[in-house]
Amino acid sequence: MAEEVSSQMNSLSISETNPSSSATISLVSGDDIVFKVEPTIAKEMETVQSFIDETDGKITTIPLPNISSHDLPYVIEYCEKSIAGKITKEFEAEFVKKLNNEEVKELFLAANYLNIKKLLDFLSQVIADRIANKSVEYVRRYFGIENDFTPEEEAKLREELAWTFTGVDPDDEDEN
């Protein structure tokens, strides 16, 4: 399993060396790194595919300014597994194990931008699982939400909902 993943990571490592194939699609991350992928991978990314379709397949270099070279390999890895029909619970658990909450959020936004429904659904659940026991303050910070309740309103609401504030994890995790 681990070998399989690492070999895949190698296979999608940074481009330029790939001599053949006019068929491959070049995905350019926001920090200008080119990733060459098979057209089948591009098909998984609806945003990329519709871009290709709109230009009748003439353009095969797709700029993805919102996606970093850190996130793109994960997205490609997931798409490859998806094509191979190898998305299992084990793979998914392994896939997110190495990601902290900020990375999961970035990947979630990338999946949305690229319109990869399966990955988006999966990451929605991952984020939900990770914030389920978090405090209200953590959630505000995580999503960059401003608290627009007055202190009185919030105190009243918290009192009414006091039973839901039991068993909340402390915030002191070393996540950025």
Binding site: F108, L109, D121, S124, I131, V136, N147, L161
Partner: protein, 209 residues
Amino acid sequence: MRRFMNFMLLVQQTMRKRRRRERLMEKKKRKTKMATPIPPKPFVHEDLIIEILLCLPVKSLIRFQCVSKQWFSLISDPNFVKSHFQLTPHTRRIEFISSDFGQTISIDFEEQFDLENAFVKQCNFFHPHADSLIQIISSCRGFIFFHHSSGFCILNPCTKIHKQIPLAPGEFETNLELRYFYYLYGFGYDPLRDDYLVVSLSCIPAEED
């Protein structure tokens, strides 16, 4: 695998598609202008927030109503509640209602037992001095219909919200008749009207010879 079958999610889908199109347009513009892309500050759009909220357990959702006014209205929206109910795999759970303390305790079979976290809440649906005897009549789609000293009540054990049910007119009206009547109660869901029904049935038992 989660299924996306309801209206709200369809709306989200189309919204996402629209935004994707907008982004593509934006991207094209940017390309022609040759502007250097500035990485935007990660911002999670409302329809994406909804996708995440739909995956959360009820207890977390209720707590997160305190996050902001927007979250409060998202989470209390009836359409959201319906979608959440449809999408959530129903857990195996046992509910206890204690008449002595006015508490409910809910234990999830799929989680490690921990009394601290076992959903304990004071529910003030009886007078503290009342000699309450709670009789659970039936349950339906997660709601519990029960009788206690001051009437009939429907409780949502997940949210702890309860509602007193008024008696039908004429019920228990004539003491004389009461001696001869049996009352039966039922509680159910009508999918056509998307509403719940409490049915009371009075009957006179056949006299024995």
